[in-house]
């Protein structure tokens, strides 16, 4: 393990390299991050034996990802914003074919108005397409989670694709200290990919054929059940990674902060949690019983763990970095459903859209609102 100051995008490229993908399809133009740029350099330097496919669009990049994975190898890609939107058509095909592709998504706003900055509208909009989605807070967590994701996605019970969701700019362009594991350590943690089925001209099989109404639902049900089983695999990967590398992120699905005797808490995803930690510390010094819940896994959704985490709470504010236009924050909707029947007071804040900074003052206001029984709103 080597500690260095590294840009999160580069750290993710280094972590991807350690996972030994054989093919990396990419659309290298805006809205792309430095992740694929760094991987191109790594491959050019002869540090990774992999093939880059320069696709003519993200739609093609995702199609190539699917095709390459079907040939029985491990793959990687990265995209963001409109790029993920353009991949939309292929995303459920990757998942429905049970291809454990792994992709990093630097979460950025969708146009219009044109905006290149961070929010979660890209990834949350594709939430229901059968990809595991894990949102992270720091460079270290991004490195560690990417390595874990391959294990989760490729486990026989799961066989589903996964997205590592990192906040665009707010994390992707940040330089900070992080430990990058050694190849031998990752090789021990992440065994070689063993495909269940291989698309091979010498041994032809059909992948992705039509499923008539008499069988389509069964396929979808199996996919859903596999996604639910992924919860256990995410926990297991986090646990075993922790044993080997000494770093764990809560139970893998959620991470709580100062929740022991908390009466009021905030839940959210990604980098806003870091800033919120500083506010919780400050309020704790003033004897306020406040805490935090970081949701790592949006899909599969850890409803049981969340119900456990809110025991004893009076109020919980949900900060969504996305708006389901015409209704409310999608995370809020999920949580209200998970907490149905509970006496907990829930409120919803829409924040950080299009790169609007989520400040410590914002977070503090949310806690004060919570303690005063006020409802949510937009953190402008």
């Amino acid at each position: 393990m080597t500690e260095m100051v590294v840009e999160a995008s580069k750290a993710i490229a280094l972590a991807a390299k350690l996972c030994r993908p054989k093919v990396i399809p990419m659309y290298p133009i805006t809205p792309q991050t430095h992740i694929v740029e760094n991987l191109a350099e790594i491959i050019n330097n002869g540090e990774l034996d992999a093939e880059i496919i320069h696709a003519e669009s993200e739609h093609s990049a995702c199609s190539a990802l699917l095709g390459a994975q079907a040939s029985g190898i491990r793959t990687f890609s990265a995209t963001a914003s409109q790029g993920l939107a353009l991949m939309f058509e292929v995303l459920p095909i990757v998942a429905g074919n049970r291809m454990p592709c792994v992709m990093a998504v630097a979460n950025r706003a969708l146009s219009a108005p044109i905006n290149i900055w961070n929010d979660h509208s890209d990834a949350v909009s594709v939430r229901d397409q059968g990809w595991i989605q894990i949102y992270v807070e720091s460079t270290q967590e991004a490195i560690d989670t990417l390595i874990q994701l391959y294990r989760v996605c490729e486990s026989k019970e799961v066989m589903l694709p996964g997205m590592l969701c990192i906040d665009g700019f707010t994390l992707s362009h940040v330089y900070e200290r992080a430990f990058v594991p050694d190849q031998s350590e990752v090789d021990e943690f992440l065994p070689e990919y063993k495909p269940l089925n291989i698309l091979d001209p010498a041994n032809p099989i059909t992948m992705g054929p039509i499923a008539f109404p008499n069988s389509y639902m069964e396929f979808k049900k199996m996919q859903h059940e596999a996604m639910l089983l992924a919860k256990k695999e995410i926990e297991k990967a986090n646990q075993e990674f922790g044993k080997k590398f000494g770093r764990k992120y809560g139970n893998g699905l959620i991470e709580t902060y100062r929740m022991e005797d908390a009466k009021y808490a905030i839940i959210g995803m990604g980098t806003l949690i870091g800033t919120a930690r500083t506010v919780v510390d400050k309020l704790r010094e003033k004897k306020k019983k406040v805490g935090l819940i970081k949701l790592r896994s949006l899909r599969p959704f850890p409803d049981e763990k969340l119900r456990k985490a809110i025991e004893g709470l009076k109020g919980l504010a949900v900060i969504d970095r996305h708006i389901s236009v015409g209704y409310e924050g999608p995370l809020y909707t999920d949580l209200r459903s998970a907490f149905y029947g509970s006496k907990l007071t829930l409120s919803n804040y829409i924040a950080g859209l299009g790169g609007r900074d989520i400040t410590a003052a914002h977070i503090e206001k949310v806690f004060i609102d919570l303690m005063n029984g006020k409802s949510g709103g937009w953190l402008l």
Binding site: V5, D357, T359
Partner: protein
Amino acid sequence: MVLKEVRIHGRGGQGAVTSSQVLAVAAFYDGKYCQAFPSFGVERRGAPVEAFTRISDKPILARNHVYAPDFVLVLDPTLADCVDVGKGLKKDGIVIINTNKSAKDFEGKIGGKVVTVDMTKVAMDIIGKPFVNIIALGAFAAITKEIKLESVFKAIDQEFSHKKEVGELNKKAAEELYKKVKGV
């Protein structure tokens, strides 16, 4: 926890973002935690840009923008006329400006303590080009005492690992600025 926040003002192409990163690496060599990030604007050559560095004894959790810097580093003297370089500066904060003017010339214009250093002259004398983004860290080390000069050297070595000669010139100029500020 001692957390110091730094804002660097430059013009697009001047290397302010690189300054923030090299400063973070220097802090790392000092055994500190660090975080560097640009202001995420639209990049245009010559336009005012900002970059930020956080330095701390403990892991840095905050990921919001820097609003109340302890130190401000201004790489281009003309920026002080068109950008509020003292914005949000902490009460005992310091603004370091690369200029041949004296600190008195900025009195009343910038809230807080101003230190001026003619970095461009040193850059021209030693490097032969007006690149101040890296060497400014020598002045920064001397004025703020937040990072060691040796750590700045190590960070420069890392930044210029592929252009060692340029790195050496930057180190020499950074040391010259360090000495100039220290008055030795």
